[in-house]
């Protein structure tokens, strides 16, 4: 700033350069904050279980089984746009007691002439049930690679924690399958 610049106002005593510098720092910090929203969002969703996101894998612990309640768990599979695999749950639904461990199976087949990588993304509804879904094994934890024409049974081992709210009678676990070729590890 050259010597002819407007002089700082005596009564406020601010210096233009200091104020400007602080504001530039604030702008840069807000740019960083935008990126910080990404992990914050995931943490927030995981803690609150909103957005139907499930965590995992967890250690299998033998826990108290609440035999007085039975919850119906339904399985839904969806292919994301353009994903050519056959993808289905081998059982439509299971009945289970909170606390008990269950294994279910899904089936995927790559009917194309290319080797492909898929990634299933889980979602639980109602979302308040999401934090009570405990998975020790899920095909959704990893990418699935299928050679051309290859098919595979994929397991899911999980339980619902006994703390699941008592008004929850039915839980839907939905899996959407994406072509993850671009993100193959």
């Amino acid at each position: 700033m050259n010597s002819n610049s407007p002089q700082p106002d005596e009564q406020s005593g601010h210096k233009p350069n200091n104020t400007a510098l602080k504001l530039v720092i604030a702008a840069v910090a807000m740019f960083g904050f935008g990126f910080a929203l990404v992990p914050l969002y995931d943490i927030f969703c995981e803690i609150t279980g909103i957005n139907g996101k499930t965590g995992g894998p967890v250690e299998r612990v033998e826990q108290w089984v609440d035999t007085s309640r039975t919850i119906t768990v339904q399985f839904i599979t969806t292919n994301n746009a353009g994903m050519p695999w056959e993808f289905e749950a081998l059982q439509e639904e299971v009945e289970m007691h909170p606390g008990a461990w269950t294994q279910v199976k899904f089936w995927a087949l790559n009917p194309t002439e290319n080797d492909m990588v898929g990634q299933a993304v889980p979602s639980v509804s109602p979302s308040e049930a999401a934090e009570h879904v405990q998975k020790t094994e899920c095909f959704c934890f990893d990418q699935q690679t299928l050679k051309a024409g290859e098919g595979r049974e994929m397991p899911l081992i999980f339980s619902l924690s006994p703390e699941i709210p008592s008004h929850v009678k039915k839980v839907t676990m939905s899996y959407t399958l994406f072509d993850a070729g671009a993100f193959a590890k």
């Binding site: 050259n2 002819n4 610049s5 407007p6 700082p8 106002d9 005596e10 009564q11 406020s12 601010h14 210096k15 233009p16 104020t19 400007a20 504001l23 530039v24 604030a26 702008a27 840069v28 910090a29 807000m30 740019f31 960083g32 904050f33 935008g34 990126f35 929203l37 990404v38 969002y41 995931d42 609150t48 909103i50 957005n51 139907g52 994301n80 990634q119 993304v121 979302s127 308040e128 959407t176 994406f178 072509d179 993850a180 671009a182 993100f183």
Partner: protein, 530 residues
């Protein structure tokens, strides 16, 4: 004041009298009045370009069926129209008005950072040149809506998205620099005696707006940077296949987006708060409550963003939180409307052109506020979302809101800038044509929206035909009326009845103590404010 000119030796001797000659005056200028003028002309150019796009959209929608343009081009038009109006017309017009008026209103010789000021402006033509240039490329312009939701704007975007991203970066930098300049000017260059609570409301609303800009434009830059990385560097911020989340995009975008809509209205609140007392010949009712209401609106604007996302599958508690927080904004907004009306109550009012636009602002903006309240009711929004009802809402707050505010300000201060009064008959003609046009265009959109017509669709079912035809007629009336505006501007610049220094009988404030037209350099000696 010779801050900038002093640094270019050859200009030194001009600095004290007036502007340099020729094109280089405009390229190198650091004078707040020159830069303000350039911002305003730029914004008017963008208004006409964006307006032409709107008329293309409305022409296609005049009748059901596809008659004039391809659906792909229709999508490019809605996208570009939104981007150009928001970032190219409304925002730069406010910055232009701030450049002209903030120093004059606080008794400062210029903006505090004049060379940065020059940069903030000159970035803009390049940003928008780049954006507009994509229309002529083979891939076509961006077509994913002004809200550019991922993955539509990443996985499925035309290749021009990269130009779009750089364009957004550039205009973001321009806005941030402009905002910093305004804050620094207000904090440091006020004339002795001009305490914060004596500042005119236009200065106050811009002061608060500038903080909003510094807070959220970087978040916008962040979100487009994430898109850039998803598209070109294999990250997966918004791609579920790679572990990302498309809903995250909407959260980050609207964290910017909602404060952004207030960035586009707060300065207009300020302008109207200057004009109404002048023509009611009474001081503004509730000055302090205006300042506090503006601050509360700015604060609340950070905690309501998910009212744009009621239908994405938010949990119940979240829906309720955002619903009530949004409704809360109606309170400070109501305070403002109440104060404007009370200012007029028992005033000796006259109805010159700026006052007419300001009055229309108060009435029509309030209609937009009410439709906003309807949209804030989460369960009702499931019906309204993504229909023409939303289009009606935001056009009521943006066209007779933000844009009328700008036009009112231009008519109000034009005699000070040019030294000439406008031709009142032409001004009133412009007003009435705009007023009729705007309502004929946007009011029917409430009805077709409630009846279920989706937005951003080039074709529609037969039952929406009549109201769409009416809206198109209104749009042409409104659009062509703006040529009257252009005509009045040029005519007033070239001549007209000589304006007095005070210009308007009831006008008060430092900007009315200097000669009309305002000399190239003002307040080299700071005035004393009692």
């Amino acid at each position: 004041m010779t801050t900038a000119t002093a640094s270019h030796d050859n200009h030194d001797d001009h600095g004290h009298h007036g502007p340099a000659k020729g094109i280089m005056r405009w390229v190198l200028t650091t004078n707040h009045k020159d830069i303000g003028t350039m911002y305003l002309w730029f914004s008017l150019t963008m208004l006409f370009i964006g307006g032409t796009m709107a008329l293309i959209i409305r022409s296609e929608l005049f009748q059901p069926g596809m008659q004039l343009i391809e659906p792909e081009f229709f999508n490019q038009m809605t996208t570009m129209h939104g981007l150009i109006m928001v970032f190219g017309a409304i925002m730069p017009a406010f910055v232009g008005l701030a450049n002209w008026m903030v120093p004059l209103m606080i008794g400062a010789p210029d903006m505090a950072l004049p060379r940065m000021n020059n940069w903030s402006f000159w970035i803009l033509p390049f940003a928008f040149g780049m954006l507009l240039f994509t229309l002529f490329t083979e891939a076509g312009a961006p077509n994913f809506g002004w809200t550019f939701y991922a993955p539509l704007s990443t996985t499925y975007a035309p290749s021009s998205v990269t130009y779009f991203i750089f364009g957004v970066h550039m205009m973001g930098i321009s806005s941030i620099m402009g905002a910093i300049n305004i804050i620094v000017t207000i904090l440091n260059l006020r004339a002795p005696g001009m305490t914060l609570m004596k500042m005119p409301l236009f200065v106050w609303t811009w002061f608060i707006t500038a903080y909003l800009l510094v807070a959220v434009m970087p978040v916008l830059a962040g979100v487009v940077t994430m898109m850039l990385m998803d598209i070109h560097y294999g990250t997966a911020f918004f791609d579920a296949a790679g572990g990302g989340d498309p809903v995250l995009f909407q959260h980050v975008f609207w964290f910017f987006g909602h404060p952004e809509v207030y960035i586009m209205i707060l300065p207009a609140f300020g302008i109207v708060s200057q004009i109404i007392p002048t023509f009611a010949r009474k001081p503004l009712f509730g000055y302090a409550s205006m300042v506090y209401a503006t601050s509360s609106i700015a604060f609340l604007s950070f905690i309501v963003w998910a009212h744009h996302m009621f239908t994405v599958g938010l949990p119940l508690q979240t829906e309720l939180f955002f619903m009530y927080a949004t409704m809360l904004i109606a309170i400070p907004t109501g305070v403002k409307v109440f104060n404007w009306v009370s200012t007029m109550f028992r005033g000796s009012m006259t109805f010159e052109t700026p006052m007419l636009f300001a009055l229309a602002f108060v009435v029509l903006f309030t209609i937009g506020g009410f439709s906003g309240l309807m949209l804030s009711i989460a369960p009702a929004d499931f019906q309204y979302h993504d229909t023409y009802f939303v289009v009606a809402h935001f056009h009521y707050v943006l066209v007779p809101g933000a844009l009328f505010g700008i036009i009112a300000g231009v008519y109000y201060w034009l005699p000070k800038w040019t030294g000439h009064y406008i031709n009142e008959n032409l001004g009133k003609f412009h007003f009435w044509m705009s007023f009729i046009g705007v309502n004929v265009t946007f009011f029917p959109m409430h009805f077709i929206g409630l009846a279920g017509m989706p937005r951003r669709i080039p074709d529609y079912a037969l039952q929406f035909a009549d109201f769409n035809a009416i809206a198109t007629v209104g749009a042409f009336i409104f659009g062509f009326s703006q040529l009257i505006f252009l005509f009045v501007l040029i005519k007033t610049i070239r001549g007209g009845e000589k304006a007095t220094d005070q210009v308007w009988e009831g006008a008060e404030g430092l900007e009315w103590t200097i000669p009309s037209p305002a000399p190239y350099h003002t307040f080299a000696e700071p005035p004393h404010v009692k």
